[in-house]
């Protein structure tokens, strides 16, 4: 027979569990996905998470948005019991994570969606689930004829009105490589890029510390033309800032954003389920639409809306207009480039 004391204890425990709902789930499996902060997190919460829950019979998932460097630091600090199951990276940090043995290869042979990704997105170390696209951004109130080439940044009429970022960001580094290519260089010959940057100095109103800071400078009229990230510009535009995005005739710089299973993750199956969902045409189609405007990597997604209008009308068009860079080569030299930028680019 249950004594009154036992009954009391039981009800107190239940009450405590009611108070701290996290406790009862502490033992249950839950997937931790380190996405990017801001609009990426919003998009993933709204579209990817429901798709994942549907596919896994309501498995628990936590979005823990953080910078790539924090993801790497946290996983490195606890390799055997990583606090993150799935990482999301720009090309530079992705290579660092792979080199340091932090990620597990994706089981591509058993994947339903992997084979449908366009060739550039297929990476065994972790497939690309979206592209980030860098083109020219300008203020249409001040610049009446839209720019058509990266070279327009050097036009004398933009004296003191152009902006760039330093090499800390993927955008800044990718831009340097692109202008090096334009003036006869390449990933392994960056010299023409630095020369071009030096020539750009009279036009520079700002060397922003990061792409976010650069974007806000349009708002203040500090900058009228700059390289810019398609998604960042859409956010500004939605808030009524006068900015437009165009793909220069040399092509837009495209970065693969890759998703990785963390090595030694206890939730490997759930991680695979999340990545499958992220690659699926369904999720990518929804993410492509307004307000998310995430550039799809699955060839089965039919381009439409703003992305079809501004970036590429289909996958074939995308291949023509997007330029992918060799980040393996870039990563090897990035430290030297940053050092050189530190020394040479003073306004």
């Amino acid at each position: 027979m249950t004594s009154r004391r036992q009954l009391l204890q039981a009800s107190l425990t239940l009450g405590a569990l009611q108070l701290f709902p996290g406790m009862s789930h502490a033992q249950a499996k839950r997937l931790v996905f380190a996405t990017f902060t801001g609009s990426w997190e919003e998009a993933h919460r709204a579209v990817l998470v429901p798709a994942f829950k549907k596919a896994t019979n309501n498995a628990e998932i936590i979005l823990d948005p953080m910078l790539s460097v924090d993801q790497i630091a946290k996983v490195t600090a606890a390799r055997n019991n990583p606090p993150i199951d799935v990482m999301l990276h720009d090309p530079g940090p992705a290579l660092t994570a792979i080199d340091q043995g932090l990620v597990e290869n994706y089981p591509v042979a058993t994947s339903a969606n992997y084979k449908d990704l366009i060739a550039e997105a297929q990476e065994e170390t972790g497939p690309a689930i979206f592209f980030q696209v860098v083109g020219l951004t300008y203020n249409p109130d001040k610049i009446k004829t839209p720019p058509t080439s990266w070279k327009d940044l050097w036009k004398p009429e933009y004296k003191g009105r152009a902006g760039i970022t330093n090499l800390n960001s993927t955008l800044g580094t990718g831009f340097l490589v692109e202008i090096a290519k334009m003036f006869g260089g390449s990933e392994s010959n960056i010299e023409p890029g630095f020369k071009a940057l030096n020539d750009l100095k009279p036009n520079l109103a700002a060397v922003a510390a990061n792409p976010g800071a650069l974007a806000t400078l349009f708002q203040q009229g500090q900058v009228d033309i700059s390289p810019g990230n398609f998604n960042a510009i859409q956010i500004l535009k939605a808030r009524g800032v006068p900015v437009e995005f165009v793909i220069p005739k040399e092509g837009a710089i495209a970065f693969k954003t890759t998703i990785h299973i963390v090595k030694n993750s206890p939730n490997r199956e759930l991680a695979v389920a999340l990545i499958e969902a992220a690659m699926s045409p369904d999720v990518q189609t929804k993410l492509m639409q307004s307000p998310y405007l995430v550039v799809p990597t699955n060839s089965k997604v039919k381009m439409d809306g703003e992305i079809a209008k501004v970036l590429a009308k289909d996958q074939a068009d995308m291949k023509k207009r997007f330029v992918f860079q060799d980040w393996k080569k870039i990563n090897e030299q990035r430290a030297q480039w940053i050092e050189r930028f530190n020394r040479e680019i003073k306004l």
Binding site: I72, N168, N210, Q222
Partner: protein
Amino acid sequence: MSTKKSLPVTAYPLWLASPLALAMLLFFITPLLMLGVVSFYSDAAMTQWGSVANWAKTLDGFGLTVLLDTLWLGVQVTALSLVLGFALAWSFLRMPARLQPLIIFIVMLPLLTSVVVRTFAWIVILGRQGIVNNFLMDLGLIEAPLKLLYTRLGLVVTLANVQLPLMVLPLITALQRIDMNLSDASASLGASEWQTFKKITVPLALPGVIAGCLLTFSAAITAFISQSLIGGGQMLFMPMYLYQQVSALSNFPFAAAISLTFLATVILCVSLFNMLGRLSRGYANG
């Protein structure tokens, strides 16, 4: 009445500090020691230990320039804050008592807002279409907008404003403690106002000046957000140098060497200020 000898009431047994000491040891000293160990790896992947390459690189010609430039920025900001802060503290003590709480509130206001918000406010003020430029153009003093944002001048002014409360509050306290009769006495003995200020007020306020300078200086040289948003990506100070190595290059060993160098320099500056502070107290009281 007991004649038993007891400890003075202001002396507390040292062991009461042991929980704090333990916490400091665990969460502050240990990570610092680990940072020291990490700094001796020669490669970013941390496989080769026992090299001083990172230290050599931190203190080479370029690294040293960055360090000195960071300290120079601190000096510029502190000097400007001191001038503005002293004037403010001086007039604060001479204004009607009912206005004083209002002024204190205004002085404290920046401390109550996030540093990011304060810094963005300055972007709005200094931008090409910002308040300063629009005002000067409306007056017809300038033809085209001046470049204020992303310049050294803009950065110094912003930092001075952001750190002003740290300067003003110790100054007010120090100036408040000065007996007004001393100035009256000085005046009655025939000293001019300037002489009184130089010979009486400044020396007596010195402890406050030094405390304010110490706080402003250390806050200014470590102000990563303001430095990067107002100074921009082409100005390199120690916090940004450190951040760059970690965030863009994942080069933790070099970053560790930079941060320890910076830490040692800041500690050196702080002890220097402290020494001056002790000397000045002796001066003020003696």
